[in-house]
Symmetry: C2
Subunit: 405 residues, 2 copies
């Protein structure tokens, strides 16, 4: 097997990566692989607890696809054994123990989603129950003897919890060892993940060394910021873009992105060359976001759908047209005996503003409008007649249609 030149590979691998540990070994690994014609074995572990992937998850997965495109071997580990066990301490009710069938169904669902990013026809898939179900207590004790409590407590999350006197249960100490052992079993050359896993990645090296195997190195991606531009992308934070969302939903969310995070989205979520990204970012932010939306929506849908989504957005929202999907908000008639309401209260009751102060400010700035014709509300106390179907605007992008009940 032949690979692109090492320099070229390094450029692809290092793009958008936060940390490579130990970095000096990467070139050697690639050179050895080039010399022997052996693809590197790239490990990525997933936890089949049943989740909908969002763009944040795709960052290390896209790195995996880049490795595949360079000719290396993707190895996906499904942590089915740990999922079977669940979190036995019972502290976290949401991580209940799953049945073998549920775990496998989750794994299949996960793999189907992963296939949107990784070329699964060329990937190996292993379930860690294949080796852990066979391990006896003696073997587990031996595995545990490779690590000390003090070492475990250097792990970021453990050290924080220990300092804050939050419980760390003993079984949790075994999870990083299990993940490390996966690397031994599949002879990983490189493991993908985030920097929060550095400890586990290094532990895997110790276990590989102990078994006389070549040591893996870790290629750690940064954490993707959510659409709020502040916190990491997460389902519970409501700042995510799911990879199963429609092209138009993706586009709408991407078009609202704060300008500052565009660069990382381009670097981490598209394959556009860095120089081209720089040029795009030097132009108008709206155009840049439209390019970004076309790239990302185009990855999960057709190019045509992506283009149409951007056009629709431009027509309905960007250029100020009336959107075709106006969210409806229901108001209780009984709460408005006079069948009218002060403008500032209306904005607040429709949840278009967070506080009445925000509402007052918006009205004073002329940003609150009514109807398809967008008639500005002139006074915070202006009495608005409540009629079914009334459209209310709070700025250009927030709006809703009133439903009375």
């Amino acid at each position: 097997m032949t690979f692109p030149p090492v320099e070229e590979q390094l450029e692809v691998i290092c793009r958008g990566v936060e940390k490579i540990v130990p970095e000096e070994e990467l070139r050697k690994k690639l050179e050895k692989s080039a010399a022997t014609g052996q693809p590197l074995r790239i490990k990525y572990g997933i936890d089949p607890t049943g989740i909908d992937l969002h763009l944040g998850h795709t960052v290390p997965m896209r790195k995996m696809r880049q490795f595949q495109e360079l000719g290396h071997q993707a190895v996906i580990i499904i942590g089915n054994y740990t999922a079977l066990v669940g979190d036995p301490s019972g502290r976290d009710e949401t991580r209940a123990r799953l049945t073998a069938e549920q775990v496998e169904a989750n794994a299949q669902d996960y793999l189907k989603q992963v296939a949107k990013v990784i070329d699964m026809d060329a990937a190996e898939v292993h379930r860690n129950g294949d080796w852990f179900a066979k391990m006896d207590f003696a073997r587990i004790l031996e595995l545990c003897s490779k690590v000390t409590v003090a070492q475990l407590l250097t792990r970021d999350d453990f050290s924080k919890r220990f300092k804050n006197e939050h419980a760390i249960y003993l079984h949790e100490c075994l999870y990083p060892l299990m993940q490390g052992w996966d690397s031994v079993e599949i002879k990983a050359d490189i493991e993908l993940g985030g920097t929060e896993q550095l400890y586990t990645f290094m532990l895997a090296r110790d276990l590989q060394k102990d078994q006389g195997l070549p040591l893996q190195l870790s290629v750690m991606s940064p954490i993707l910021v959510g659409t709020d531009g502040v916190r990491r992308m997460g389902k519970s934070l409501g700042n995510y873009i799911g990879i199963s969302e429609s092209a138009y939903d993706m586009t709408k969310k991407l078009m609202q992105l704060p300008d500052e995070v565009m660069q990382s989205y381009f670097e981490l979520l598209t394959d556009l060359p860095i120089e081209e990204i720089q040029k795009i970012l030097a132009g108008h932010p709206k155009i840049a976001k439209q390019t970004l939306a076309k790239c990302i929506a185009g990855e999960y849908h057709s190019e045509q759908e992506a283009n149409e989504s951007v056009e629709r957005w431009e027509r309905e929202i960007g250029a100020g047209g009336l959107p075709s999907d106006i969210p409806e908000v229901t108001l209780e008639k009984s709460s408005y005996p006079e069948e009218s309401v002060a403008a500032v209260d209306l904005l607040f009751d429709l949840k278009l503003v967070k506080t009445k102060s925000d509402g007052r400010r918006l009205i004073q700035q002329g940003g609150a409008k009514l109807g398809e014709e967008k008639t500005a509300i002139g006074d915070i106390n202006q009495s608005i007649e409540l009629v079914e179907g009334l459209i209310v605007w709070a700025g250009k992008k927030k709006f809703c249609r009133v439903v009375l009940k």
Copy 2:
């Protein structure tokens, strides 16, 4: 089954015990046992790593025999599974991994020794490999989820090591859990051991509670001081009396005991009633030690042998007679070209004194003597002619015969 009255049982059980935890539960356990006619299940765990039992080990074992005499059920756990694993961290070369055959041979040897104290015909014996060899990883994770790292670090030895930054390996954290699980398996009512095991004993209660079982309590014996009267009895400290030693060797060692430790030896190693012990201790220390020697040597040998040993000691050492087994010390002729040596140097070279200052003091006090006739050495520089077979005394109890080479 009927038992002695609870008060009477309490008196026997509490004798010479350092701590009972939780103490208030003991009476209830005994009352319930009396009411239902069910003997209590008394657990004692042993580690078949191949050791010669000494009197220090017999303290909890004698407590077990007392429980047996009260009508309760002895349950011996042989930790064969942990012994098989050894200490896998490889830090302690002396705790090498044993083969199954070695472990079983050690266990048999141990049981033979234990039978000198515990009535093995009436005891249950379990090997913890019976349950641990069958436990899978998922079950072990579940077991580990019952305890937190912080709880483990409250264990005396762990907390000291953690503070001193000495490594605690993760497998060591599993050992107390395993020992605790033994209590679940055999449904222990009471566990015997030393106070250093308090943490493990309490952990066993947590695991029993978790399994909906009655909770064990622990009856903890104090640590027996060695024949030096200072440190705990231990083979490596050379201050021990092995239970396989001859009646005469036991007697000799017991007769050298510092007076202060006699009471604990009487309480912990004999069944003499406390009032009788008080009377004995009020008399002459030599007579008291002879009584102690007769009791202890008589437990491991016949009463006749014990009596004869004490008589022999009295004849040979106590009354100043010549002992029948004089240790030999070899001196190199070439180190003494003049075939003689200064008295103080002789004592030192024969290791009868630790320092030459000690030798000088001994000679000045008239404690250094020569030959069967015990001729006092008058001067520290007195020239002693080196002849084969010369007997040299340093006080009444230290002596040797010179061998030249």
